[in-house]
Amino acid sequence: MQLQIKGIRKYFGDVKANDGISLTLQPGKIYGLLGENGAGKSTLMKVLSGYHKPDSGEITLGKEGVRFDSPAEALASGIGMIYQDPLDVPSMRILDNYLLGRDRKVLLDRAEALQELRQTARRVGFEVDPQAFIDTLTLGERQQLELLRLLAMGAEVLILDEPTTGISGEQKEELFDSIRKLATVEGKTVILVSHKLAEVQELCHHVFVLRKGKLVGEAEIPCLTEDLVRLMFEDVPPRTARVPHVRQEKALELQEVGIDGERLQVSGLSFDVQSGEVFGLAGLEGSGQRLLLQACAGLIHPSQGRIFLNGRDVTRFHFHRMRSQGVAYLPAGRLEEGLVAGLSLTEHIALATMDREFLIDWKRYVEETQRRIDRYQIVGQPETLVDELSGGNQQRALFALLRSPLQLMLLEHPTRGLDVRSADWIWQLLMQRVEDGAAILFMSADLDELIERSDRIAAFSGGRMSRIVQAQETTAEELGYLIGGER
């Protein structure tokens, strides 16, 4: 069935996430959807799969115009989507998860569902234990399950939103094989949302490129990667040249550190980060790099080994104590973990920077906040509530909260959600800190960012850290292998 999208608009407040997008998709083909962060890819797909209602525009399936009030309606029409974060119920068993939404009857037909599940799994070549609990599975397995569910429900159009950010190289190959089979053998339409050009080249037949909510181009694959890059970024902004500031002092040192996470165990971490060094951590979500950052921050304590900060054993220090030692930690979730919705910028600055004072000198803090607003180019006033700030400005606000001087900065996805220009600018600020002697340990899903900004890089895979590579000498390909767990 041919799928047509015409003039889709979806605005979030002032943000034009989708600004009149039209596409036509044919059965039996795999499409790539490319675009920089915030280009509107996910929004478009959510509109297509019934999660969002478009402000305007229409969708035609075959000859009929369709309107979806919910993802379930979309699925009933044959459009199914797999989200970056699988939409399943972690506390349920696989079978129950599959049964949920399978039918409307009161009685559950477990036997039939079981058979169906097994059959579909065999069809695409997955293996499942239907009695296992979802929360014991890896992200990749959960994505596979979602795929199975959609297939079993008769999805003809499959949308995969960045399906490879969280899975291993092996799983990726498996997934790609099944996708190919689904498209070519079973004649399904597949849309792969990604900004990894290599993947697109490997898998897709045709790509669409979005920028700032608009369709800016399309191409048949294979084509030149440079062309795609040009389509995605228009003019690729020149990035600031990086001057290394590494000094010969160990800021952070880990000796045989092991960490027990809830689902993952990390062990045998031994390395150091010099003052003035930027150390990048690659790896899929949930591979252990976040645990490492949290352990260095004192948020969780290692189960073995020691951590030294400027030569001092800080293994058992808790977060607040680390904080007073000049360690900063920047979480990935902005409003969830970093900022307090309902408090103003000034209140944040006061909270983050006050010392053992009793009374708050509001006047001083308002002035200080204004200074930081200017310095970090935040669009807002000192009395603006942080939840009224835009996402990018929230990100800037997080940086504005950092204290000085800092010994060590632990950053999760420091530029996630920022456009290329802002990201570059944030890195300039960070480099100033580095110049002053701070060490940076950061994780990112963006391999280019890692290579470009780091002095050294290590990758995590399934709780194990790879060998450490020099950023200047490595390539995205090498990192890809390391992320995949190869030596």
Partner: protein
């Protein structure tokens, strides 16, 4: 911050009026004219000086507890245990009043301090149960309310029984020097009014102007972020509850040393729960608390006269305040009413 418009500010009158109308209908249903009913209430609260003083005297402990609750609510805590904290304060003050023989100038401050300490400790236990034992403060508080009341009953029927033998009414009256000086014939002590003023101003300043107040605010709104911003959630949780407990305990001391002259069973009788309502109706703002609390006190005292005049159950006062809080809570903020059916929130419209 945007300034609220006049409509937004004034809207809250509407649910309040509706609550009055509902109460009036209830009066009519029981064949009492609302004019007579509300008239009796007003006369009961403000009919003469002694009534007004009585309203004020009842207002004191309720306001102290409510002011404390503003602190714990700011930290995002549901301190239902405030009732028990009042009782423990009363018990501690009674203990010194009964057992300690020192001059008045020393005894009264000691009673007040002991009451604050006892209330704080009682709250502290609930807090530690929460932070260490993961027992939600609602359940911890509730259990400790009942335990405090049971403890009172034990004391007045056991060790602190009056020498002439037990009734279940309470201990023997305290010596005069253990009692707060009263205003004329009333049960109102000017000293206790001063305590309220200090508490209101103090809490206002703490929440507005101190580092601790800011930490509580952050903790109440988002404990995770607050933690990353340097707020020690366990310590502040415990301290916030303890400060609330201390003020509630002080309220308990006022109950035994001015409203009564001895420790009685049910020394609080629900003042803590009323204080929770007061704080909700005050929209958690400490500057409004004393006034709302005064209104509550007037309604309750007025319903005594209402009962005497009309033979209607005095729960009517509680119904009036309860309905009012419920309506204000649900419909008091006109901005949230916009999401009612048919008036979905405005979406940004394409501007080309």
């Amino acid at each position: 911050m945007k300034r609220a418009s006049l409509l937004q500010r004034g809207w809250v009158i509407v649910p309040i009026l509706v609550a009055l109308v509902i109460t009036a209908l209830l009066l009519l249903a029981f064949k009492v004219s609302p004019v007579e009913g509300f008239g009796a209430m007003i006369r009961g609260a403000f009919g003469d000086m002694s009534k007004t003083l009585s309203v004020t005297a009842f207002w004191v402990p309720m306001t102290l507890a409510a002011v404390g609750l503003v602190v714990s609510f700011t930290a995002g805590l549901w301190n239902i245990g405030v009732e028990g904290q009042i009782v423990m304060g009363a018990i501690a003050a009674s203990w010194l009043a009964l057992k300690l023989d020192v001059p008045r100038g020393l005894l009264i401050p000691l009673e007040m301090l002991a009451a604050m300490a006892a209330g704080a400790i009682w709250a502290g236990i609930v807090a530690v149960l929460k932070t260490r034992g993961k027992v939600h403060e609602i359940f911890g508080g509730l259990a400790f309310n009942n335990l405090a009341i049971i403890f009172t009953n034990y004391l007045i029927s056991g060790p602190w029984q009056p020498p002439e033998g037990g009734t279940f009414r309470g201990t023997s009256p305290f010596p005069d020097k253990a009692l707060l000086p009263l205003l004329g014939d009333s049960r109102l002590s000017p000293i206790s009014v001063v305590m309220v003023i200090v508490a209101v101003v103090g809490v206002f300043l703490i929440l507005r102007g101190t580092a601790w107040g800011l930490k509580l605010k952050a903790l109440g709104k988002n404990p995770d972020s607050a933690f990353l911003l340097g707020v020690s959630s366990e310590r502040e949780t415990i301290l916030a509850l303890m400060l609330c407990g201390a003020l509630a305990g002080l309220g308990g001391a006022v109950r035994v040393t001015s409203w009564f002259d001895s420790l009685r069973q049910s020394i609080s009788g629900g003042i803590g729960y009323l204080a929770l309502l007061v704080v909700m109706l005050s929209a958690f703002r400490v500057a409004i608390v004393p006034f709302v609390s005064f209104f509550f006190s007037a309604v309750l005292n007025g319903s005594i006269t209402l009962q005497l005049r009309t033979q209607l159950h005095s729960a009517l006062g509680g119904i009036l305040t309860g309905v009012m809080v419920l309506l204000v809570l649900l419909f008091g903020d006109i901005r949230t009413l916009r999401i009612l059916p048919g008036q979905r929130r405005k979406k940004a419209v394409p501007d080309e």
